[in-house]
């Protein structure tokens, strides 16, 4: 069993990752799917309306690079692939959630 993406020491700073992920609706959708316990590329793709395989794979690769997700390839025929949040990824999404909540407050303020 091959495991990719763990502990990949991103040169990108965490705040840059945050900016990047928060600004990308596809990345946010992929993270949401994975935290909802979808693990296989096909089921993740079916859960996100309108995402192409190319865009999905780009987002997977970015989040492997960032160390947010890891990828496990099971030596079956055909090979089974699963994506999971890393320990880093679990902490990372707490930050994303907090930013999201605060952004919601700013918007509510604006409407008042």
């Amino acid at each position: 069993m091959e495991n990719q993406g763990k502990n990949n020491n991103p040169a990108v700073t965490v705040s840059r990752m945050v900016e990047d992920i928060v600004g990308c609706k596809w990345s946010l959708s992929v993270i949401k799917a994975v935290r909802n316990k979808l693990v296989r590329p096909g089921e993740i793709q079916r859960s996100i309306d309108g995402i192409s395989t190319k865009v999905l794979n780009e987002r997977f690769n970015k989040m492997l690079r960032y160390g947010i997700l890891d990828k496990t390839i099971f030596p079956e025929v055909p090979p089974r692939v699963e994506y999971h949040l890393t320990e880093f990824g679990e902490k990372f999404i707490v930050i994303i959630d907090n930013i999201d909540a605060l952004q919601g407050e700013v918007k509510t303020r604006k409407k008042q």
Copy 2:
């Protein structure tokens, strides 16, 4: 008593603010001083080694604009000025702290 900077509805998104503040050592120093209960411009400036009045005022103005700090001017002679974290600012620095902690982990990982 005039109070500036509260509820100023920043157009800047929260994630952009995060990126900006995390990337600016002076902003981080000012936030650190204010959370350490320093409130007056003079005492904040003396607590930060090497910061000029011009740079300090720029950072104050940025954080007023972002809604992180508020500024209170007391009608005394001479007028007394105080800066405090807003409610938004209190939540904002939790995000900064979390990013900082996670960045620390990334660095530790790199050294291993």
